[in-house]
């Protein structure tokens, strides 16, 4: 790829007067020696998987094997329909769709990792909510995923995207930053504003630990996807309003890397700390798996 940092990505997009999605598409074609049709087609298939997961999560009785998660996306959807909600309609659609995706994931359904399975709700949740609001075409929806992917590519190579290596900041943090940048582009913002949205959203999630109850990608993952989506939406609006991050985006990504390295293993997807170590977390673990030999 021609870019290794968000700054390089934004500079390239500005210099060539192209959206971030176009830079990503061109670089993917060059890197993999594939045609435009071919890479667009592969991303289109990923988009279809995301759409099906959301549809399933909102329309079927989805329940995980442990029984810990499932059905909350539908609860929120009903609430949006029937109540005078306080935040925004698009925002709550993004949140409900993010939850729908992750509830399907928790139930061992089919999803598309963005960037991981545990954080797979944020990007599609925002994508389908903003697309509905903006009447986006299928091509614009596919482009949303290339923009998100470009940001994820930079974060993955300069920091981490796995909870086991960097904590939840690496998963929900990355997913939220990816979604925020793509929302900005779909809403007509500039590549620079996309970069600011990455910085603003990621800063808010720095230090977030990965502490899944009983080691399951359920509690708190489903709700962290929900609130990751809301952070992405609000960060995008802030960036579109012209608000800039004082600390430059690539330094925020570097900070995430350093925070992740300082984080103890108990808070990196080992289910030994945080919410997993609470009395309720421990009791649920015992109920689901019985007495653990290392407990």
């Amino acid at each position: 790829m021609r870019f290794q940092s968000i700054k390089e990505l934004v500079d390239l997009a500005e210099k060539e007067n192209k959206p971030i999605s176009e830079i990503m598409i061109e670089d993917e074609m060059a890197q993999s020696e594939r045609t435009r049709d071919d890479v667009m087609e592969e991303m289109s298939r990923n988009l279809e998987v995301m759409e099906q997961a959301i549809h399933r999560g909102l329309n079927e009785e989805v329940k995980s094997h442990s029984g810990l998660t499932g059905g909350d996306a539908r609860k929120l959807r009903e609430y949006i329909r029937q109540h005078d909600f306080l935040s925004g309609e698009t925002l709550l659609y993004a949140v409900s769709q993010a939850m729908a995706t992750n509830e399907v994931n928790a139930a061992m359904g089919t999803i598309c990792a963005t960037p991981t399975a545990g954080s797979a709700g944020v990007v599609p949740g925002c994508l389908f909510a903003v697309s509905a609001k903006r009447n986006a075409s299928r091509e614009e929806m596919i482009r949303f995923l290339f923009t998100a992917g470009a940001v994820g590519y930079v974060i993955a190579n300069n920091s981490f995207i796995a909870g086991a290596t960097g904590g939840c900041q690496a998963e929900i943090g990355s997913a939220t930053a990816m979604a925020a940048a793509a929302i900005v582009e779909m809403a007509g913002g500039t590549p620079r504003q996309s970069g600011e949205a990455v910085a603003i959203s990621l800063k808010n999630l720095l230090g977030l630990v990965c502490d899944p109850v009983a080691g399951l990608v359920e509690v708190p993952c489903v709700k962290r996807n929900a609130l990751g989506a809301s952070t992405a939406m609000v960060s995008a609006d802030m960036a579109l309003a012209g608000i800039e991050s004082v600390v430059p985006v690539d330094e925020v990504i570097e900070a995430m890397y350093r925070v992740g390295n300082m984080m103890p293993n108990a808070l990196k997807e080992t289910a030994l700390g945080g919410l997993a170590a609470t009395p309720t977390g421990q009791a649920l673990k015992e109920k689901i798996f019985g007495k653990s030999p290392d407990a």
Binding site: M43, R45, A106, C112, G149, A156, G215, E218, I288
Partner: protein, 220 residues
């Protein structure tokens, strides 16, 4: 650069719930299966770090067994892999270990039957991507960024040239090459990362070379 493609980030399409602990685990299992090249009678799965602590919650065991059954990370049959393996008469042993490996999500898989056994160690580095660090006692470093051709052969002169000639004749460019052997004149291993896909036909040509024991491709 560990991640080379936008589809490493947006993707893979997979069965939940965890890209590291499910999709990556399935890929490690499948790499072992490709190495063994047939359905095993027995599988021993050693888990380290986060894999050892949370495998039940994430279905890591289910996913690795799915891979051993040669299923893709998005194959719905993964959900029932333990049952399918049992019905197929494959004896599965899961062994979580306390000791730590370099990467927190690491598994060593031993596959065996009456005719032989193989051992493969791999780590799931995030978002479904894996690295293979050991094959049959040979320390290696396979990033999974390109297709990798693995050739087990007898350690003797001309082996590299004969394999390279077949690749050259088929217009396949070599990105990285690594050799490893246990001792002079005995078993050796050649790992060739290629820029293009290696077809079954090319694999057959290499397999038919004298002194080649076994050839397989991972990350196709």
């Amino acid at each position: 650069m560990k991640y080379r493609s936008v589809f490493d980030i947006i993707g893979p399409v997979m069965i939940g719930p965890s890209s590291s602990h499910t999709a990556g685990a399935a890929r490690i299992g499948r790499a072992a299966r490709k190495l063994f090249n047939r359905q095993p009678k027995k599988a021993e799965i050693y888990l380290y770090g986060s894999f050892a602590k949370t495998y039940q919650g994430h279905g890591t065991d289910v996913a690795i067994v799915g891979g051993i059954l040669d299923f893709d990370p998005h194959d719905r049959r993964i959900v029932d892999s333990l049952k399918i393996a049992e019905e197929a008469g494959i004896e599965i042993t899961i062994i979580p270990l306390e000791e730590n490996q370099h990467h927190p999500n690491t598994a060593t898989i031993k596959l065996m039957d009456d005719e032989g056994e193989i051992e493969l160690t791999g780590s799931s580095i995030g978002g479904g991507k894996i690295e293979i660090t050991n094959i049959n006692g040979f320390d290696i470093s396979l990033s999974g960024n390109s297709p990798a051709l693995i050739v087990f052969h007898e350690d003797r002169f001309g082996m590299i040239a004969s394999v390279a000639r077949i690749l050259a004749d088929n217009r396949i460019n070599i990105g990285k090459m690594e050799m490893s052997r246990k001792s002079r004149g005995h078993d050796a291993l050649m790992i060739i990362e290629t820029d293009q896909k290696v077809s079954d036909q090319i694999m057959d040509q290499i397999s038919n070379l004298p002194h080649v024991h076994h050839v397989f491709v991972i990350f196709p």
